[in-house]
Symmetry: C5
Subunit: 359 residues, 5 copies
C-alpha cells in the first residue's frame, strides 16, 4: 500500500520535469472531489461564515479591516487556484508550490505575505499513514489555506471562531495562522501515539519469544512509516523557528510566545520520533537475537538426540554382525549386560548435558 502511493506520486511528479517555471501542475491524486471554498470573516464583535461559489468574491475580503480566513479544498482546479492567486497578488512560484503536493514543508517570506507549506498526517482505514499537503498564505488581514481534499484538523478552530471561544476572535491574522498551525501540530501527537502503540505491540510479541516469522516485515514497514512521518514533521521545526526569530512585520510580538509553544511541541514530537527510531533498531536487534536463540535451541535438541543414540546404535550394530566367531553372542546374560551398559551410557550423557546446561 505504502509503496503504491509513492510510485503514483513520483510518476505524477515526473510530468513536471522540464516545464516552464511557474506553470501550475497538480501532482496529487486526481480525486473527483469538487472544488470548495469556505470563508470566515470576523472581528471581535461579529462573524460571517460563507461558502464562496464565485471565486471573484474572494477579493472583496482582501482590503477589509476584519480578519478573513479563506479555506480552499481541492487543488486539481488549477485555473481557479490561479484566479485566487491573481486577486491576492501571489508570486507564480507560490502558486506552483501550492498545487505541487510533493512539496517539502517550507516557508517563503515575501514583502507583503508569508507563504507556509505543511503536511497533515492521517491514518486511513487500512491503518496506513496518509499525507495531505496544506499551504498557508498569511497576509495583513487574511489567511488563505489550500488543502488537497475536504476533511481536515481545523474543526475546533471553526468552533472557536463561531462560539467566540478563547482569545482567537480578538486577535489578528497572525494568531489565526498560529491557531491553524497549532491544530496541525497537535494532530501529530495522535500519529505519534499510534506509532508508539505499534512498536509496543511488536515489542511484546518479541519479548514473549514466539514471534511470527514474518514479524521482521512488519518491523521494516514500521521503520518506513517512521521515516515518512519524520520527513513530514522535521522541516517544520526550522519553519517555526524562522517565524519566531525572523522579524516579519506580519507577526506581532505578543504572538511570538505562542509560536514558541508550537516549537516546544515540535521538539517533543521530534524527540519521540527519534526515540521510536532507536527502539525500532532495538527491535531488529532483538529479532535477530531471537532467531539466533531459537537456532541454538534447535541445534541443542539435535545434538542431544544424535549424541545419545548414535553411539548406542553403533553398539547394537556391532552385535548385529554375522561373524561366525563373536564370543559375546553366546553368553547367557550378555544381552542384559549390554542393556545395562547402554543405560549407563545414556545416563552419563544426560549428566554431561546437564552440566553443560543444555538441558
Amino acid at each position: 500500500m505504502i509503496k503504491r502511493t509513492r510510485k503514483k506520486r513520483t510518476q505524477e511528479s515526473k510530468k513536471h520535469i522540464g516545464q516552464v517555471p511557474g506553470t501550475l501542475i497538480y501532482t496529487g491524486k486526481k480525486s473527483d472531489k469538487d472544488f470548495h471554498v469556505e470563508c470566515f470573516d470576523y472581528t471581535k464583535e461579529h462573524i460571517e461564515e460563507s461558502i464562496l461559489l464565485n471565486i471573484e468574491d474572494a477579493v472583496n475580503y482582501k482590503e477589509t479591516d476584519s480578519v478573513t480566513w479563506i479555506n480552499v479544498d481541492g487543488l486539481k482546479h488549477t485555473d481557479k487556484i490561479e484566479d485566487i492567486g491573481k486577486q491576492y497578488n501571489l508570486h507564480p512560484l507560490v502558486l506552483e508550490d501550492i498545487v505541487n503536493t510533493s512539496q517539502r514543508p517550507k516557508i517563503d517570506e515575501y514583502d507583503d505575505y508569508l507563504f507556509v507549506v505543511l503536511k497533515m498526517l492521517y491514518y486511513n482505514k487500512e491503518e496506513n499513514i496518509v499525507i495531505e499537503q496544506v499551504s498557508f498564505v498569511l497576509g495583513k488581514n487574511y489567511v488563505l489555506t489550500f488543502q488537497e481534499s475536504e476533511g481536515d484538523v481545523f474543526g475546533t478552530i471553526r468552533e472557536r471562531l463561531r462560539l467566540n471561544n478563547g482569545r482567537i476572535r480578538g486577535m489578528k491574522s497572525d494568531y489565526l495562522l498560529y491557531a491553524l498551525v497549532d491544530a496541525v501540530v497537535d494532530n501529530y501527537f495522535g500519529i505519534i501515539e499510534t506509532l508508539g502503540n505499534k512498536i509496543e505491540d511488536l515489542e511484546t510479541e518479541l519479548f514473549t519469544g514466539y514471534a511470527r516469522e514474518d514479524i521482521n516485515i512488519e518491523v521494516q514497514q514500521l521503520k518506513r512509516e517512521i521515516l515518512k512521518v519524520r520527513r513530514a514533521i522535521f522541516p517544520l521545526r526550522e519553519i517555526i523557528n524562522r517565524i519566531e526569530k525572523g522579524d516579519h512585520p506580519l507577526i506581532y510580538k505578543r504572538t511570538i510566545t505562542y509560536y514558541r509553544d508550537i516549537y516546544d511541541h515540535l521538539i517533543q514530537v521530534s524527540e519521540n520520533i527519534d526515540i521510536y527510531r532507536e527502539m525500532i533498531w532495538s527491535l531488529m536487534d532483538m529479532y535477530m537475537t531471537t532467531i539466533s536463540n531459537k537456532m541454538n535451541e534447535v541445534m541443542k535438541v539435535l545434538t542431544i538426540i544424535a549424541t545419545i543414540f548414535i553411539p548406542l546404535t553403533f553398539i547394537a550394530g556391532i552385535y548385529g554382525m554375522n561373524f561366525d566367531h563373536i564370543p559375546e553372542l553366546h553368553y547367557k546374560y550378555s544381552y542384559f549386560i549390554l542393556w545395562g551398559i547402554m543405560i549407563l551410557l545414556f545416563l552419563a550423557m544426560l549428566y554431561y548435558f546437564k552440566r553443560k546446561k543444555w538441558l
Copy 2:
C-alpha cells in the same frame, strides 16, 4: 511496567489535542494525594515556615523584601493552580505547562519572572524509574515550585533554611533557585550509580559465559531506561547554560559561579549516560558473541560424535549383511581384527580433532 506508564501518559496527553491554547489540563496520574501548599519566608535574621490552607494568602508574600519559597504539591487541582497563577501574574501558557506533566525540560524567560521545568527521577519499589515533573517560577523575591505529588529531593534545602546552614539564608531568590535545581541534579548521581551497578551485574553475568537466556530482555529494558533518563536530563544542560550566559536581571552575577558548578555536574552526568549507552551496546555485542560461541560448541560436540560413530556404524552394517558369500565372516579372528581397525579409526579421529583444537 515501563510500558504501562508510557501508555497511560500518551492516552492522557491525547485529551489535550485540539484544545484552546492556555486551557489547563492535568496530564499526570490522577493520584488521590491532596493538594498541599507549604511556604518558607526568610531573611538572614528570621524565618517563617507555614502551610497555606488558603491559597489567596500566597499573594501576601509577593511584594515583601524577604525571600519566599512557595512549594505546591498536587497538580490535579487545576483551579487552584490557576488561582496562584493569577496572583503572581503568570502567563496562561506557563500555567498550561505546569500541569502538563509530559512537558520537556525547558526554560522560558518572561519580563518579570523566569519559568523552568525540570524532571525529578526516582527508583520506585519495583526498581523502575519514575519521572516526576517539577516547575520553578523565579520572581524578584520569591520562588514558586510545583510538584506532581508529595515527596521530593528538597529535604536538605528545608533543613539548611531552618538551621541557617551555609550561605542560603543570606542570599536572594536566585540562590534559592540554584539550591533547589542543585538538589535535583545531585539526585541524578544516585540514579546514574544504580544504572551503573545494573550494567555491571549484567556484564559480570555475561563475562562468566553462562548467562540466562532471557538476559537480552533485561539488556533491552536497561537500554530503554537509559534512554528515558537521557531524555529527562539532557535538555537541562541547555537550560543551565542559558541561565549562566543569558543576562537575565533576576540572576545576580555572584550566583553565576554556582550555576556553572551545576553545569559541570550535568556534563559529568551526561558523559556517564553516554558511556553507559556505549557499554550497553557492548553488552549486546558480547551477548551475540556468547550465543555464537555456544552454538559453535554445540556444533562441535555433534560433529565429533557423528564423525566418529557414523563410519564405525557403517562398518558394523557391512558385516550385518546377509550375503551368502562374505569371506571375512568365516575367518576365526576377523571379529577381533575388526575391533582393532575400529579402535584405530577412533584414535585417528581423536587425533584429528585435537590437532584442529576442537577438543
Copy 3:
C-alpha cells in the same frame, strides 16, 4: 560496468599529475564526436540561432546588449576551448577545470564572471548511470556552457527561447543560467525515481521471502549507484546557496527567488537520496534476516527428521542383534508390540515439536 568506467577515469586523470598548473588536459573519454558550437542571441523582441563554425566569431557576441548563450559540445579539442577562453578572458585554472571532467561540482567567483561546474546524470542503455560534466560561465550578457558530448537536458530551454515561451526572453543572462541549472536539477528527479523503483523491486523480492541468492550483489551495486549520485548532487546545494546568499553583481535580486526554488528542489532530491541510503541498509538487514530464517528452517527440518528416526533406528538395531538369548524375540506378538511402541514414540515426538512451534 560501473567499475570499468571508474578505472578508466582514474587512469586518465593520472596523466594530470605533476603538470604545470593551467595546462589543459582533457580527462574524459576520447569519444570521436565532433566539436560543435551552437549560439543563441536574443532580446525580448528578436532571436538569432546559429552554429558557429569559426570560433573567432564567438567574441562578436561578447559586448552586445542582447543575451547570448554559447553552448560548446566536445571537450577534447582543448586548443579550441583555449581560444574561446582567451576571447572571453577566462582564468587559466577555469579552462583547466572545464576540460578536467573528474572535477567536483563547484562555483568560483571572478570579478567579471561566475564559473559553475555541475554534473548531468543519465541512464544509458545498459541501465547504468552515466555522469557528464557541464560547466557554465555567466558573464554580463552571456552564458557559456561546455559539455563533454552532444545530447543534453536543455531541449526545453531551446524551445522556450525559440517560441518566446514564459518569461525567459525578457530576462537577463542570470535568468538564463537559472533556467539551464534548473533543467539539470529537474532531470535529477527522473534519476531519483528510477533508483526508487529499483529499491522497490528488490524490496518486493525480499518481502516474498524467496529472493535469488545473488540479490546481495544487486543490493551492493545499487548502494554504489546511490553513492555515485549523491556525490554528483550534494555539492550542488552549497553552490546554489552561495549564488542565493552571495551578493554577486551579476545575479539580480528578482532572480534570487528562482534560485531559492532550485535550492528547495535540491533539498528534496538530497532527502530522497538519504532516505534511499537508509532503505538500502534496511534491505541488507532484511536479506541477512532472510538468510538466518532460511537456515533456521533448514535446521528444523533436519532436527525433526533426525530426532524422530535416530531413536527408532536404534530400537530396530537392538532387535537386529544376534545374541543367543534375547527373550523378546521369541514372543509371538512382540513384533507388533514394538510397532506400537514406535508409533507412540513417533506421535509423542510430533506433539513435542508442535508444542515447540517447530511444525
Copy 4:
C-alpha cells in the same frame, strides 16, 4: 579490577549528594599516605627548595616577586587544604573541586587566578590504568598543585628547576604551569603506546586464526580502557584551547606559542585514541568473522562425513534385512559388486565436495 575501582568511586561520591555547596568532601581512596607539601621558590638567579611542615608558611610566598611552586600531596586532610585555600583566597567551590577527585577535567577563570583540573594516567602493577587527579591554581607569582598521593610526572620539571636547565627559571608562573601541564600530556604518549601494543597483540592473535575463546572479554576490557582514557584526555583540548584563545592577564603572549604546542600534542593523542577505537571495533568484527569461519569449517566436516556414510549405511542396512526372498543375497559375487558400488559412490561424493571447494 576496573569495575571494582569504579564501584568504589561512585559509592564515595554518593556521600556528596545533598551537601551544602562548598563543603569539602574528599571522594578519593582513603589512602594512609601522609600529607606532604613541597615548595620551590625561584628567580633566574637563585632557587630555594623546602618542605613546608607548617601550612601557614605557604602564605609567605604569595606576595614575593619570585615564582613559587607549592605542591600538595594527599587530599584527605581537607582541613589543611581549606587552610591553604583561605591563605590564597580561593573560592569555596574551587576547594570543593580540588578534593572531589571524580571531577571532570576543567578550567575556571577567576579574577586573580586560574583554576585547572587535569588527570594523570598511570599503569599500575596489575597493568590496569589508574587515574589520579591533579589540580592547578595559577596566580600572579605562584602555581599551586594538588595531587591525590605522592608520585607524579613532575620529576623532570624539578630537575630543570634545580639545574637551571632550559628557559624555565627565567620565565614567569605561566611558563611553570605550561611546563607542568606539558609533563602531564607528554606522559599520555606512553599510555597511548601501551594501548597500541595491546591492540597489536590481540590483532596478531586474531590474524593467526586460532585465538583463545575468551579473547572477546579482553577486547571488551580494552574497549573500556580506551573509553576511560578518552574521557580523561578529551576535555583537555578545550581547556588548552581556552588558555590559548582566552585573553587572561596571567598568561603572557610569548607563552601562548608553547600552549599551542601542547594543543598540537593533544590533537595527536586524541587522534590516536580515535584510531584505536576504530581498530577495536575492527577487532570485534574480525573475531565474529573468525567464529563464523570456524563454525563453517565444523559444519563442513560434519556434512562431508554424514553425506558420505549415511547413504552407504542405508545400502548395508538393505542387505541386512531378513526377507526370505532377496535374490541378490545368493549370487556369488554380489558382496564384491556391492563394495565396488559403494567405493564408486564414495569417490563420486569426494569429487562433488572437491568441486564445491569444501575439501
Copy 5:
C-alpha cells in the same frame, strides 16, 4: 609490515617524553643516508642551482631579492638543522617539529615566516604505504623544505624552474610554496588510485562468490591503510583553508586562487577516501553474507541427505530384526514391494525439497 613500522615509531617518539621543550630529537628511522642541501636561487631572468656543502652559505640567500629554495634531505643531523634554524631565526619549537617526524600536518604562523608540515605518501616495493614528513618554511624571499631522506615528488618543479616553464620563475616565494604543496597533493591522486584498484580487486573476488578464506585479513589491512592515508591527508584541508582565508602578508592576493585550486583537489581526495571507507565496510558486509550463504548451502546438503536416508535406513533396520514372528518377511514379493515404497518415499522427499527451492 604495517604494524612493524608503527611500533618503531612509537618507541622512538617515547624518547621524546619529558624532554625540555625545544630540544631537537630526531624521531624517524636512523637511515644512513647522508645529509644533503640543494639550493635554487632564481629571478625571472636567471637561475642558479647549487649543492650547499657548507651550511653557513645558506644565510647568503636570505636577504637577496631573488627567490631562494633551499631543500634539506636527511633530518638525523640535528646539529646542522639547528645551524640553519639559527641563520633563519626559526623558533626552537619549529626546529623541534621539523625533526619530530611523528608530527601531525599543521600550519604555524609566525611574524616573518609561515611554517607548514605535510606528509608525502609513497608505495614501497612491498606495496606498503610509506609516509615521509616534509616541512616548509615560507619567508619573504625564500622557501626552506626539510625532508627525511632523498627522493621526493618535486622533480617536475625542479624542471619547471630550470626550463623557465609556466609562470613559476616570474612569481614570488608564495607561488613556489604553492607549486611544492601542489606537487605533494597531486601525488595523493596516485595513492588514491592504487587504493581504489585494491578495493576493486577484493570486490571482484567477493562478487564471484569463492573468495579465499583469509580475504578478511586483507580487507582489514586495507581498512588500516585507508585510516593511515586519511590521517595524513585530512588535516591538510584545514591548513590550506587557513592559508587561503588567513590574511598573512607573505601570501599575495593573486596566489590565493591557486591555493583554492589545491583546496578543491583536497576535497576531491578526501571524498574519495570517505567513499573507499564506506566501500570497505560494504566489503566486510558482503564477506559476512558470503560466509552465511555458504553455511546455508552446506546445511542444505546435509539436511537433504540426512532427511532422505535416515528414514529409509530405519525401514531397512526394521526388517533386519530377528523376531521369530514378522509376517512380512515371508511373503514372496515383500522385498520388491519395500523397494517400491522406499523409491516412492525418496521421490516424495525430492519433490518436497524442490518445492522448498532447496534444490
